[in-house]
Amino acid sequence: MSKSIDVSDVNIYYGDFLAVQGVNMSIRAGAVTAFIGPSGCGKSTFLRSLNRMHEVIPGARVEGKIVVDGQDLYGPGVDPVAVRRQVGMVFQRPNPFPTMSIYDNVLAGLKLNAGKLKKSEADAVVEKSLRGANLWNEVKDRLNKPGMGLSGGQQQRLCIARAIAVEPQVLLMDEPCSALDPISTSAIEDLIHELKDEFTIVIVTHNMQQAARVSDDTGFFNLKATGEPGHLVEFNPTKKMFANPDDPSTEAYISGRFG
């Protein structure tokens, strides 16, 4: 089941450097939320803090509350591994595991976490996930071939299949189409539309049209000035954001007058 995310007063640091400051937002369940903004404004950093991937970098830490399903992700005693099982992630560059076949890549999350699966269950999960990622028809005859042999767009959809195979409640996507051609991009955008019934989706994108096409809500991040931390300028339904934004700098960014 998809879950909503409530973010309050979140500050994100790299060592002593404050990268993102004072973010408050409420991400709706079962909807697609897009983050836009210029490079270096902290949208990817913020996205990574939503499943505690930010702290993988040495010295990085997060202050504030991020509540999913009534539980604070940064509360005392919370296991980051448990968080990441609930909040999946798809990265900018496709990263299938090079030692595994397509079949094993899809099952990687389940096998690594749960151990042995029955063959019939495993087959069912693989087919369901690959169908969910719109990849089944392209790869069903070569499931035992290495995942690295697919094209870039197929690899990215394989990564999405791998992420949804563990049935997370939230799916984070960090510029999932920036390394892909327009046709693969369109395939993944269609996929996002289908997936939002089952998952809460948060996507970072540099492509404003993409944000307008796929998302229900949009957050605009910006830097106050060079060297200052990034912050959330505006968070509104996408329709309002692109037609009649509250903040003049949002309008300037969207209409292409800066950034």
Binding site: A82, R84, G88, R93, F97, P98, L112, N113, G149
Partner: protein, 351 residues
């Protein structure tokens, strides 16, 4: 303002330059060889004749080229010649060594040589190097059993957990120092440790394994570290994002991805220590009998046997030394081949 004339001159850049004929290097090489042969006939030694011929080739070809092709072509010819020359300098001793060992050693190999030890129960019993082959295998496998877990796990700590903290830096420095330890010092260390623990005059194959593992560990750490650092962070993050704990990410994702390279490194480290003599003379001793127990009694390895036979210096002993050297090289080659095959099997596949 540039005139029309100037512009036209600049626009017309000739793309065709005069070139030496394709066979030029061969012609010059032929002349150089002829010169070398002439010098040989005139009574000069083989080495100076070869050197003079090589230098002649390296000088004549660029000189010819500079008149026909210009400076850039001449430089190209000269550098090509130098690179070939250094390549030959590197390869000739290797091939000559292999050829000599095969020529002198292969003839001594037969079933008796491989299945009898030096220990005679009758005066006319034939001798062989079975005891040394067994000794080499047991001591080397012992060294690998000690060094591989220690080395690989140390490298995992350095890359995955240490992340350039002070302890990791100190370990890296010590590993670098250990790489340079003379093998005799490693032997003395093992000798001292086992003498302290078990009293004087203690010799055993296991002691040899400990001494060799001291030489092997730093190589294994270095090779594994390099391979682990080549595994992209993307893969680690992908595994974390699926909710995989760190240790499982290392065991199931990082190590398999780097496995081919790690195995190659381990094999190279093994090949490096399999030929050690000095530390084993100290701690493993030498014996004529086949000793299967690494924890008790002296154990001879092939290098120690070669050393001993060479000291004796009579013709049959020398033949045995060559034969043992041949077997040692075969063992190292088989190890390398196995490493390559295993590395291929485990390398990440594409397509």
């Amino acid at each position: 303002m540039t005139t029309v004339q100037e512009v036209q001159e600049r626009v017309h850049i000739p793309l065709v330059h005069p070139r030496l004929p394709r066979t030029a290097p061969v012609i010059v090489a032929g002349i150089a060889v002829a010169l070398g042969l002439l010098l040989l006939v005139l009574g000069m030694g083989l080495v100076p004749a070869v050197v003079i011929a090589a230098v002649a080739h390296l000088v004549v070809l660029p000189l010819w080229s500079v008149f026909v092709e210009g400076r850039r072509g001449a430089t190209d010819r000269m550098m090509t010649g130098l690179i070939w020359a250094t390549f030959l300098v590197a390869v000739v001793p290797l091939v000559s060594l292999l050829w000599r060992v095969v020529a002198k050693g292969a003839g001594r190999i037969d079933g008796t040589f491989l299945s009898y030890s030096f220990f005679k129960t009758q005066v006319d019993q034939p001798v062989g190097i079975y005891h040394a082959i067994i000794g080499t295998l047991i001591i080397t496998i012992g060294a690998a059993v000690i060094s591989v877990p220690v080395g690989v796990m140390a490298a995992i700590y350095l890359v995955e957990y240490g992340k350039k903290n002070k302890l990791a830096k100190a370990i890296t420095f010590l590993v670098d120092v250990m790489t340079g330890i003379p093998s005799i010092v490693a032997g003395l260390f093992a000798f001292a440790v086992f003498t302290l623990v078990f009293g004087p005059a203690y010799v055993s194959g296991f002691g040899g394994s400990v001494a060799l593992s001291l030489l092997m560990i730093p190589i294994v750490v270095r090779a594994t570290e390099e391979m682990l650092m080549l595994v992209p962070d993307d893969l680690r993050e992908a595994a974390y994002a699926l909710g995989t704990p760190k240790w499982k990410t290392i065991v199931r994702i990082v190590l398999p991805t780097a496995l081919g390279g790690i195995l190659t490194g381990i094999t190279l480290a093994t090949s490096r220590v399999i030929g050690e003599t000095a530390p084993l003379l100290l701690i493993a001793g030498a014996t004529d009998r086949t000793n299967m127990n690494p924890f008790d009694g002296a154990m001879t390895t092939l290098p120690v046997l070669i050393y001993g036979q060479n000291l004796r210096g009579d013709a049959p002993a020398e033949a045995i030394a060559w034969g043992a050297a041949f077997i040692l090289i075969i063992i190292v080659m088989v190890l390398n081949l196995v490493a390559r095959i295993v590395g291929k099997i485990f390398a990440p596949k594409k397509g």
